[in-house]
C-alpha cells in the first residue's frame, strides 16, 4: 500500500508530461508558422510600398455611393463610406430577417396543410430554391426580373405598393402621417422609395431564405406527435388555441437552433449585395481596397464585424433558446 505512494512515476512515463509537451510543441509550431507567414506578409507589403495601419481612413474617398441612409458625398472620407456600408448591411440584414421569417412561416405552414394545391406549391417553391446557388438566383432576379419590370409611367400597383424598374415605392410614415406613394411624371412622390438594387437584394434574400426557413418550420411542427394535437382538441381547445398554446411552444424548441443558423446565413449572405450593385459593407470595402490597396486591414475589419454580428446573434438566440427550453424535473 505505502509502496505505491512512495514510488513516483518517472517523468518519461507520465502521460501528463506528454500532454504538456505536445501542447508546447503545438504552440511552438503555430507561433513559428505565424511569425514566418506574417514576416513574409510584412516584407511583401514593404516591397509593394503599401504601409500597414488605419491612417488612410480619414482621407477623402472620392467615390459616390448610390444608396445611403447617412449623409455622404464624394468628398466624405473612407471612414464615412465604411459607415454607410455598415448601416446598409445592417438594414438589409435586419429587414431581411423579419420579412424572411414572415414568408418562411407562411411557406412552412402552407407545406403542412392538407390542401393538395397549396402544399404542392410550397413544396415546389422550396425544392427550386434549395437546389440553386444564392448568387445565381440573385443575378437572375436582378438582371433578369428587376431590370425588366415596367417603366415608371406604367408602374404596377400591388395594393398601395408601386413597382417599376426605377425602384419600388412603399407607404411610409412622413412627418407623423402615412404617406402613400404616387407616380408624378418620371419620379415617385411620397412614401419611401427603395432603389432597384435595394429592392433586388432585399427581395432576393427574402425569397431565397424563406424557402429554407419554411423547411425548418415544417420539420419543427412535424416533430410534434399527432397525439398532442388530438389531446388539445379533446380538452376542448379551438384550432387556433391548440396551435398557439400546445403545438407552437413545443415546436419552437426544435425550430430555434436551425432558425438561428438561417438568420446568420442571411446576414452573411447579404455580402453578395455587390452582385446586384447594392453598396453594402463588403462591396464598399472592395472599392476601398481597390483604391488604397489596403486589403489586409479592410478584410480584417470586415471579418471582425461579421464575426461580432454572428456571435451576438448566436448569444441572443441561445438566451432565447434557454428561455423556451423544456424545463425537466
Amino acid at each position: 500500500m505505502s509502496d505505491t505512494k512512495k514510488t513516483r512515476i518517472p517523468i518519461w512515463r507520465d502521460e501528463r508530461a506528454y500532454a504538456v509537451l505536445a501542447q508546447v510543441a503545438f504552440v511552438v509550431v503555430v507561433i513559428a508558422a505565424g511569425v514566418f507567414l506574417f514576416g513574409n506578409l510584412l516584407s511583401a507589403l514593404r516591397r509593394q510600398n503599401i504601409p500597414i495601419g488605419f491612417d488612410f481612413l480619414p482621407t477623402r474617398a472620392g467615390f459616390d455611393i448610390s444608396d445611403s441612409f447617412l449623409e455622404y458625398t464624394a468628398s466624405s472620407n473612407y471612414l464615412q463610406a465604411f459607415q454607410v456600408g455598415l448601416v446598409n448591411t445592417l438594414v438589409v440584414a435586419s429587414v431581411g430577417i423579419v420579412l424572411a421569417s414572415v414568408f418562411g412561416l407562411i411557406t412552412g405552414l402552407a407545406g403542412l396543410t392538407h390542401n393538395f394545391i397549396i402544399s404542392r406549391l410550397a413544396r415546389v417553391y422550396t425544392e427550386i430554391m434549395r437546389n440553386v446557388p444564392l448568387l445565381v438566383f440573385l443575378v437572375f432576379w436582378y438582371r433578369g426580373i428587376v431590370f425588366n419590370l415596367p417603366k415608371i409611367s406604367e408602374a404596377l400597383s400591388i395594393g398601395p405598393i408601386l413597382v417599376s424598374n426605377r425602384g419600388v415605392a412603399i407607404p411610409w410614415l412622413l412627418d407623423g402621417a402615412l404617406s402613400l406613394p404616387v407616380v408624378r411624371g418620371r419620379i415617385f412622390d411620397g412614401g419611401f422609395v427603395l432603389s432597384p438594387e435595394l429592392f433586388a437584394i432585399l427581395s432576393g434574400l427574402v425569397i431565397y431564405t424563406a424557402a429554407f426557413i419554411g423547411e425548418v418550420i415544417r420539420a419543427g411542427v412535424q416533430a410534434i406527435p399527432r397525439g398532442q394535437f388530438e389531446a388539445a382538441r379533446a380538452l376542448g381547445f379551438t384550432g387556433m388555441q391548440s396551435i398557439r398554446l400546445i403545438v407552437l411552444p413545443q415546436a419552437l424548441r426544435v425550430i430555434i437552433p436551425p432558425l438561428t443558423s438561417q438568420y446568420l446565413n442571411l446576414t452573411k449572405n447579404s455580402s453578395l449585395a455587390a452582385a446586384v450593385g447594392y453598396p453594402d459593407l463588403w462591396s464598399i470595402s472592395t472599392v476601398i481596397i481597390n483604391q488604397t490597396g489596403r486589403a489586409v486591414e479592410m478584410i480584417a475589419v470586415v471579418m471582425g464585424i461579421y464575426l461580432t454580428t454572428s456571435l451576438l446573434t448566436s448569444l441572443f438566440m441561445n438566451w432565447y433558446n434557454n428561455k423556451v427550453r423544456l424545463i425537466e424535473r
Partner: protein
Amino acid sequence: MNTSAALPPLTERISILRWLRQNLFRSVADGAVTVLGIVLLLSLVIPIVTWALTEARWQVVIENIRLFAIGQYPIEYVWRVWVCVLLLALICGVSWGLWLFRQRAVGAAILAAFLLLGLLPGALSIPATEKVAGFSLMLPSLAWLVAMSTLGALGYAIAARAPARARKLVGPAWILYLPVCFVLVAGLGPDGLLATVGSNLWGGLLLTLLITAVGIVASFPLGVLLALGRRSKLPVVKAFCIGYIELIRGVPLITILFMAQLILPLFLPDRVTFGPISFRPEIDRVIRAMAGVSLFSAAYMAENVRGGLQNIPRGQFEAADALGLTATQKMTLIVLPQALRMVVPILVGQFIGLFKDTSLVTIVSLLDLLGIGNTVLAQPKFIGTQREVYLFVAAIYWIFSYVMGAISRRLELPQSASRR
C-alpha cells in the same frame, strides 16, 4: 377467401370526388384557398411557359454550349476531359455492381445523371460557330452515350465476375481518380499528348466540378482533424480548433475567397532557395480559390463530424481502451468509422452546399459556370438574354444538387459488421 373483406368500408374507398373533397374542398374557406392557389399557379405558369416557348432566345445557350461546359479549354485537348468522364463511368459501374445493385432508385438517379453528362460531349464536339442542325447534334451524342453505357456495363460485369478483386481495386481507383483527372485536365509538359493547359483556360461546368471535387477531398481530412482537435483533452489544441471553426463559420465565404486571392500570395516568401535551385513561389489563381473554398468548408465539415463523434457511446471508447488499442488505433479503427457512417447524409448535404457555394468564385473573376454565363452575356449578339442564360445556369446547378440530394436520401449504407 372473401375478396370483399379486403376492401375498405364504402365511406373510405377512394374516388375522385372524395379525393377532391378531402384534399381540396374540405370547407368553404378551404375551397377559396384552393381557387386562389390555382389562380396563382396559372398566373405564374402560363406567362413563363409562353415566354419559354415563344419569346425566349434559347439560341444563346445552344451556340455557347461548349463555353458553358468547358470554358475556353482548347478543342484539340477536349478528349482528355472526356476520358475523365469515361473513367468515372467505369468506376461508377464497378461500385454500383459491388454495393448498390439492390437499390434501384439510386441506380436510376446515377443513370439519369450520366445520360445528361453523356449528352454533353456529343453536343460539344461541334464547334460553336457551325450551324447546329438537330441531326448532327444527335449522332455524336448517341455515340458517346453508347460508349459511356458500355464502360459502365463493363464495370458492372467486372464487379459481378470477380467481386473479390474488384473490391480490392475500387477503393484505390476512387482515391486515384481525382489526381488522375487533375493531371489529365492540367497536362504535364510543354507539348505532346498531355501538353499543359493553363488554368486560365479552364472554365464552365468543368471548373465548377473541379473546384467542388478538390474542395471536398481537401476539406474532408482537415474537417476530421479539426473535429478531433475540438474534442481533444489538450486545452491548447482544443482552443485553437474552436477558434478556427468559429472564426470561419462567423464570416461570409466571399471574405475568405478575397483573402485567398489577395493576401495568400503575400504570405509566401519572396524567393525560395534549395541549394542551386532558386525560384519565386507563386500560387495559381484557381488553386487559391480552391484553397479558400477548402479552408471554409473544413470548418463546417468539422462541426458535422463532431456531431457524429458525440453520438458514439462511451462504451466504445472504453472497450477500445480495454483491448489495449493505442489512441490512433482507437480513433481510426473504432470511433471514426462509426462516427462518419452516422453523418454521411449530413456530409452529402454539405457537399451540395459546397457545390453551390463555388459559384462565388465568379466574384473573384474566375470563369466558372456562372462566370461563363456573364461572359456570354457580354457578346453583342446576345444582349438582353439574361433570363435565358441565368435560367440555364440555374437549371444545371439545380439538376446536380437535386440528384445528389435524392441519392443521399435513398442511399442505404452498408452497415458496420456488428449490425449486419
